[in-house]
């Protein structure tokens, strides 16, 4: 279908564009920006007056809970949430049940997600079988099946020798490795940042050194193996400093933060709010401020939703017993805008962290509004406020620490391959 998006403010960080112009879509691709192409006949006109037209969001981590955890969420519910959140490409971590450790599972997930008006799903394969941290997966086969990177999700490899071997093997084929940095021994039984709040509430702490020791180990192994490393969900100022220093020393390493860690701190645990039970834990305000500044400067390369649907049974428990995680796909855009507003950043810079920058990390052709590229587009009203509520969320996980908060930035239309996936 030929679509003519008119009157919108086109903001595309990848092409350094920020102007009011019309955008034309034909055959699922962007046909032109500005002047009407010769012979173009619009079958549909979307009036984007007062709205921003930007590339569809690219999310580095969204758990769809399939296969295995369908009671928490289904592909349909979470893909609807992605569309409602303006997300058109997402990476899916391997901690499904069974984990994404064999090509058949990856192909099945890709097939299930290949419905029209669904976001593009990019599976991240398991680095070890069943994420057991012992046996390497068939990475070459998994990559052929569609995996864009290899990861352990939040399950660490305890044996450093196996970590070294896994990196060497991945580096053989130049596969990127995405890892969370948390020393499992120092984090044992921990449920919150080891600081004043955990001490006061009597919660077992996870010290910052659990992150920095793990980062140090991983960076040394990267030096040894030359593997392309992406560190997922950095949580501390000290951790970020190490990543920046390594990058300055010429090591190819990238990192991301989650929307939760960008806006919240240990203080938000309040009176044992299980919504603030997250992995890694929310850290101090100083840590949060460093992550916010780092994302602005580019020291942190991307922002992700870390979308983790948890059902009410998993959340309505005493803090330490509650399941970690929060829903996020529908909050990624408004929380990006909130951060940009609070830090007084240009809109294009803020949007880069959720469009072209994560697309670059994923190595996919997305996150840009270039003529000829797939028409994956998000159109949002930056002024319209929405109160985060259980009723409005399309994700089956209705738990987030942001419930009740009014947030500016309402997605009006989401287009995937030129098809309207969300909006009327």
């Amino acid at each position: 279908m030929n679509i003519h998006i008119t009157n919108g403010r086109i903001v595309d960080p990848a092409t350094n564009t920020d102007k009011t112009a019309d955008l034309f879509i034909a055959d699922g691709k962007i046909a032109a920006i500005g002047n009407t192409p010769v012979g173009f006949k619009a079958e549909r006109v979307i009036d984007a007056k007062g709205c921003v037209v930007c590339p569809g969001l690219v999310d580095l981590s969204a758990r769809l809970r399939e296969p295995g955890f369908e009671y928490r969420a289904t592909l349909e519910s979470e893909m609807a949430a992605a569309a409602a959140g303006g997300v058109t490409s997402l990476a899916c971590p391997p901690d499904t049940d069974p984990p994404l450790d064999e090509p058949g599972l990856v192909e099945m997930l890709k097939h299930r997600a290949r419905l029209p008006d669904f976001a593009h799903v990019y599976p991240v394969g398991a680095l070890t079988e069943k994420l057991d941290g012992k046996h390497l997966t068939e990475m070459a086969e998994l990559a052929e099946a569609g995996c864009i990177a290899f990861s352990q999700a939040n399950t660490p490899i305890r044996d450093t020798q196996i970590m070294l071997r896994a990196m060497q093997y991945a580096a053989t084929f130049d596969f990127p490795v995405w890892l969370s940095a948390q020393d499992p021994h120092l984090a044992r039984d921990g449920v919150a940042h080891d600081g004043e709040v955990a001490s006061r509430l009597g919660l077992t702490g996870i010290p910052v050194v659990a992150e920095t020791i793990a980062i140090a180990t991983l960076l040394h192994l990267v030096r040894e193996t030359g593997v392309r490393l992406h560190l997922q969900r950095i949580s501390s100022a000290a951790g970020l400093e190490m990543v920046s220093a390594a990058r300055a020393a010429g090591i190819a390493v990238t990192c991301d933060v989650s929307i939760n860690h960008l806006h919240l701190s240990e203080m938000d645990i309040g009176y044992f709010n299980p919504h603030a039970r997250l992995d890694p834990p929310l850290r101090s305000q100083r840590d949060r401020d460093a992550l916010r500044a780092g994302l602005a400067s580019g020291a942190v390369n991307a922002l992700c939703s870390d979308h983790t649907p948890v059902d009410d049974d998993g959340k309505q428990m005493p803090f330490g017993e509650a399941e970690p995680g929060a829903t996020g796909l529908e909050l990624l855009l408004p929380l990006t805008l909130k951060w940009a507003e609070e830090m007084q950043l240009p809109l294009a810079l803020a949007l880069a962290r959720v469009t072209c920058d994560p697309a670059h990390i994923m190595g996919i052709p997305a996150g840009a509004l270039a003529v000829g590229s797939a028409a994956d587009i998000c159109i949002f009203d930056p002024k319209a406020e929405v109160i985060v509520s259980r009723e409005r969320l399309k994700s089956q996980g209705r738990n987030t620490p942001f419930l009740g908060l009014p947030l500016a930035g309402r997605v009006k239309w989401t287009l995937v391959d030129g098809v309207v996936a969300f909006g009327d």
């Binding site: 080891d194 600081g195 004043e196 955990a198 001490s199 006061r200 509430l201 009597g202 919660l203 077992t204 702490g205 010290p207 309040g270 009176y271 044992f272 709010n273 299980p274 919504h275 009410d312 049974d313 959340k315 309505q316 428990m317 005493p318 803090f319 330490g320 017993e321 259980r390 419930l403 009740g404």
Partner: protein, 325 residues
């Protein structure tokens, strides 16, 4: 439909009065003093021939113990019975929880049995908050919750009975130096004591213990940290010993009970460094020869048994204030 969790402090009602007793952290001094004042006349009830007052007649108090405890449960039971309440004791770890029933399902079932008050002990920090928030979110505010110990977080009635004991012997809080000795890290009692002492105006609260048994940033709770017991006990008015749980012995926290006793056990020698009229307290049950020498536990400065007696009066006061309206 499950309601959203209520994020505010559920302990105080909109008028700033006591809705539940969940923690001493954040309780105003005036409420602490009011509880201690209310407890004072209840100490006399025990002296009477008929040890009962009718303040909670017709009310049902459920002792909901998700973690074993004979002593605390018994003192709550006695306190409730002396207030003429009907008391139902439930040891949940031997019933529903092992059948997979969730904490809030258990609470809903018992609430449906017309409970007026839950006295809750749970191994997870914050469990009584979850219950109170759930009751508020489901419009059952009339059911009151008393925290009888949650994880490492709080044991507010123990903290209160300790304050009652200190006030009984020392009269005034504002000229005291108090030392809390031992495993502060794992102790809900210590946390409640620290909040109560600082709120009541004790100018110097000390914690004494090895670094493995003190919480991170404990000084931000308003205490002075000592690792040397002899320095820490110097000229104190009150020594509050903590119980060292046996399971702490097998890990990497301490090498042996013998070494612990040598460094942090309260002996007559070490006690001699405190003021001559210093009192010695312990929440019980005591490990003689581990954290306290028998000569001290049974000595003239120990007020450990009066603590138990006062504990009943303080728990009566809390229950009367919450449920007697």
């Amino acid at each position: 439909m499950t309601p959203a969790l209520f994020p505010g402090n559920p302990q105080l009602n909109t008028r700033g009065g006591l809705q539940h007793l969940l923690s001493l952290d954040g309780l105003p001094r005036q409420i602490l003093t009011q509880i201690l004042d209310t407890a004072a006349p209840f100490t006399e009830v025990a002296e009477r021939e008929v040890k009962k007052v009718p303040l909670l007649r017709g009310k049902s108090v459920f002792n909901l113990f998700f973690e074993n405890s004979t002593r605390t449960r018994t003192t709550f039971e006695i306190a409730a019975k002396r207030l003429s309440a009907d008391v139902i004791n439930l040891n949940i770890n031997t019933s529903s929880a092992s059948k997979g029933e969730s904490l809030l399902d258990t609470v809903d079932n018992l609430a449906a049995m017309q409970a007026d008050m839950f006295v809750v002990r749970h191994a997870s920090s914050g469990a009584p908050y979850l219950i109170a928030q759930h009751l508020a979110a489901t419009g059952r505010d009339h059911i009151r919750v008393v925290n009888a110990g949650d994880g490492r977080h709080a044991h507010p009635t123990q903290g209160l009975l300790d304050m009652f004991t200190i006030r009984h012997y020392k009269k005034d809080f504002t000229n005291l130096t108090v030392a809390i000795v031992g495993d502060v890290l794992h102790s809900r009692v210590a946390r409640s004591q620290i909040h109560a002492l600082t709120t009541l105006g004790v100018p110097e609260v000390r914690v004494i213990g090895p670094k493995t048994l003190l919480p991170t940033a404990v000084e931000r709770l308003g205490v002075r940290v000592f690792h040397d017991m002899k320095q820490g006990l110097k000229d104190v008015d009150v020594v509050m010993m903590l119980r060292l749980q046996n399971e702490r012995m097998n890990g990497a926290l301490l090498p042996s009970t013998q070494e612990y006793f040598k460094s942090y056990g309260l002996t007559p020698d070490k006690l001699a460094l405190a003021k001559p009229d210093a009192i010695v307290m312990h929440p019980g049950p005591m490990n003689r020869g581990v954290e306290i020498d028998s000569a001290v536990a049974d000595g003239g400065q120990a007020v450990i048994l009066p603590q138990v007696t006062f504990g009943i009066a303080v728990r009566m006061a809390v229950m009367a204030m919450l449920g007697g309206a």
